[in-house]
Point group: C2
Chain length 499, copies 2
């Protein structure tokens, strides 16, 4: 195969994968948002079938020959072409480890697992969900053993979400967080709790839906390119730069829950919407890694969203939409309520200071699950024990315990660390951004465009053109340093709680 033939075959394969990816993504999104409950089995068959075609196309011998022909000339190729071939090769190497039948059955299993998880969470019924989780864990253990038989199994899964990530980075990272943050968390618990009484009111859902629209305006999310749905667990799905979806979940007894979900998912959406035109339709048209993706969502949610200046911008909007509930509330009260730090049960609603402890617990549990040291049946007990040990809270039921997150149901084991790592990446980006942009002036004015423009230039537009390590170093001008994150949290919460 000549290089030119190979490059034409690469274009054609990407076009094909794009169509199947779009269809499968659409079926998934539909299943998560508006499909009737009994639709899961037939959707599982369809997604299984289409995934089988994707598997066949990627693992075909011709694809191997095509990639070999391109990568043999890697030195003479432009970066984009080389990276497209590298990323496809990475997918191919991983998919080749799983026989087609097993892969299709796994895709079908995840469709059913999502439906079962949804009901099991509402009913707080771990037993109903356990057989599905068991099979998902078993698949991932087999995959890890095939992928890197000589390394700890969990490392093989971490590598899927951020190439090269392993326990060698994460063990010391979480150890640092535990060591440095636990004393702060304990100190905070002794200080007077800020006045958050105004939060304990009823926040009508129609007004919350309108608030979502206003938040999307603030974030600069064009509704013609980005739609919003409602799901049990908020998420973002990006098909291309003109079709991104975010979802949220409204609770009548909380205004901050959906607010921070929308800002978080909006951060993911801005990343997908900001990938350069010339990468659209290629396999590079997504985030560089899940940690980089979470760096964007957590940046908007916490660094901007939970900042004093941005609370000043939010206040008049909230006063307009919730005049009775917000009567007598000023920006400082809103800021302190948004930053209330206390050990709690739900990761997605945790404050910045305790958040990474929630992630650390999942990291340790997943390591044990995938390492074979923790059986599925023992997950709830171990979950509850760790929440007690590290956060001092009693988990009243599995709905608010090990059933709270959807990730395992769609096979994402090894993903959670991305949230903590991404949070830390975001803080380091902030330090670099502050040199170029008046971040806090913009946040206070509710004008996030210069902030997004910086991130678009440094992060978004590159898609998967750069590997996460290089992307982060280019953006920040320095290698990753988790101490920046620790210092940021100590400073912010030290000031908030007069430590």
């Amino acid at each position: 195969m000549t290089l030119n033939e190979a490059l034409r075959a690469l274009d054609a394969l990407e076009k094909t994968l794009n169509a199947y990816g779009h269809a499968i993504g659409c079926l998934n999104y539909d299943g998560e948002t508006v499909a009737p409950r009994n639709s899961a089995a037939a959707r599982g068959e369809t997604v299984g079938y289409l995934s089988g075609i994707v598997h066949e196309k990627i693992t075909a011998p011709q694809t191997g020959e095509m990639l070999d022909a391109i990568l043999a000339e890697a030195d003479g190729l432009d970066l984009k072409t080389r990276r497209r071939a590298e990323e496809l090769k990475r997918s191919r190497d991983e998919l080749t480890l799983v026989p087609a039948d097993e892969y299709m059955a796994y895709q079908q299993l995840m469709q059913e697992a999502m439906a079962v998880w949804h009901d099991a969470k509402l009913a707080s019924d771990f037993a109903a969900y356990a057989p599905y989780l068991d099979r998902i864990i078993a698949f991932n253990r087999r995959l890890a053993a095939r992928k890197a038989p000589d390394r700890p199994a969990y490392d093989a899964l971490l590598d899927t979400y951020e190439k090269g990530l392993s326990h060698e980075t994460l063990d010391p990272f979480f150890a640092l967080l535990r060591k440095e943050l636990t004393p702060v968390i304990l100190e905070v618990a002794k200080r007077p709790r800020p006045d958050t009484a105004f939060l304990n009111q009823s926040w009508p859902i129609p007004a919350q839906r309108e608030f979502t629209e206003r938040l999307m305006d603030l974030l600069g999310l064009d509704r013609d390119d980005c739609a919003v749905g409602e799901t049990e667990h908020p998420f973002t799905e990006g098909f291309n730069k003109h079709d991104v979806r975010i979802t949220t979940h409204y609770h009548e007894d909380s205004v901050l829950s959906s607010m921070f979900s929308v800002i978080h998912e909006g951060g993911h959406a801005l990343y997908e919407l900001g990938v350069a035109d010339e990468l659209q339709g290629t396999c590079l048209a997504g985030g560089s890694s899940m940690s980089i993706h979470e760096s964007q969502s957590r940046f908007y949610e916490n660094i901007i969203g939970r900042s004093r200046p941005f609370c000043r911008a939010l206040l008049p909007i909230m006063k307009t939409l919730f005049p009775a509930q917000m009567a007598g509330v000023d920006a400082e009260m809103l800021y302190r309520a948004a930053c209330l730090s206390e050990p709690s049960l739900i990761r997605t609603e945790a404050d910045e200071l305790t958040y990474s402890i929630h992630v650390m617990i999942r990291y340790e549990l997943e390591k044990a699950m995938i390492g074979g040291d923790l059986s599925t049946a023992d997950i709830p007990g171990e979950w509850n024990r760790m929440y007690k040990e590290y956060l001092g809270v009693d988990v009243p039921d599995d709905r608010r315990g090990c059933l709270q997150d959807s990730h395992w149901s769609f096979g994402a084991i090894g993903y959670f660390p991305s949230y903590a790592l991404g949070s830390a990446y975001g803080v380091q980006m902030l330090a670099a951004m502050e040199k170029d942009v008046d971040v806090w002036g913009c946040a206070a004015a509710g004008n996030l465009a210069p902030i997004t423009a910086w991130l678009r230039e440094k992060i978004h537009r590159h898609g998967q053109l750069l590997l996460p390590k290089q992307l982060l170093e280019n953006a920040c001008g320095a290698p990753f340093d988790p101490n920046c994150y620790v210092d940021y949290l100590k400073k912010k919460y030290g000031e908030l709680y007069s430590l």
Copy 2:
């Protein structure tokens, strides 16, 4: 190819077509309901690509050999196997007439046309839509010429929606309706108009959404199998008997608009949900023809929905959901308002008596468009002229004129007659049903289960196992007789307006 090999190939092909059909249907449904506006172009590419695969599979020489091998043994086969092969052969014969590239481009065109139509309707801007409609008409004229070069072009399109249907049936059918109904319409116009003042109020959309839920309960639509969405133009999409979607459109100034849309689409949904288990996953798992499909939707919408007994069942529900608006309204007032007959602009909201005139106008326009006697640019003028001639109304803008329906945008030219024909089929089914079921006692009690059970037994469960003519004759015990429809309308409106 042996018969057994051919039967296995048939199973495999149906499984494949099912997966692609599900994916394409899901992309379409998503596009019509929740997708952001700028998503149309990329969705068009994906749908075009996947449609190309469907085209390739159906037109493949092996498919021809397989169908030949099965149909050569047709006499020895069970009905289901024979009909599956016949229906696939029908699709194959039609698809073979269109080169793959042209077919894919047409699928993509329709995605774009739907998006353009949506905006053009809102802006009442026919000129923006005309180039798309022009290409859709051109495609259908070419298709008709290839399909039946010796017959009037429009007949070839009618045949797609009901096998064997042609102007030879429809010209006298519409002539009969015009002749018999026009004097009634003119007489009704001279009588006192019923008191419908209560309709001219504000009907809050949250309460209308709740009303939809109650109507779905009344219809026996299980929300676990049937979801509801919101679109500019209501429609039904059925993926399988556990996944059907209906949509509606809420207008704050009308309660009847969404109410009758939900009942109409609910009738379609009951058909899809009632197809027998053993036909699921085969190409027979849908309605026998579009006229039979519309017979079900129009049966529930008009024969049941616009009946005096059913209005008695609706009244307490409406009084609960709209206490202020329904104060002082009794069942007879509701019935007379629901049956208000007057020439109007919008087909989907037209009363039963004038409805088929709306359809007749579209029939004549389509015949002229496809016959080459009417250019696209002349459609609005001709539309408005016919509305004036046959219904005596002035069309104020294209939004309420030739842009009101979505059908042409998704390529459905030749579909409209199904609405009138289906309405007539439904009346004939009613006569047979009344011999077995206490239709009006059930309607008054809000208990539609025995009515649906009769339709399920006679119509729904058969899917496409029987051709429409045979299905109708089996259900009604007599061949189609349009006079039943005319007599029903004369009797109903004669009583309502004391003619």
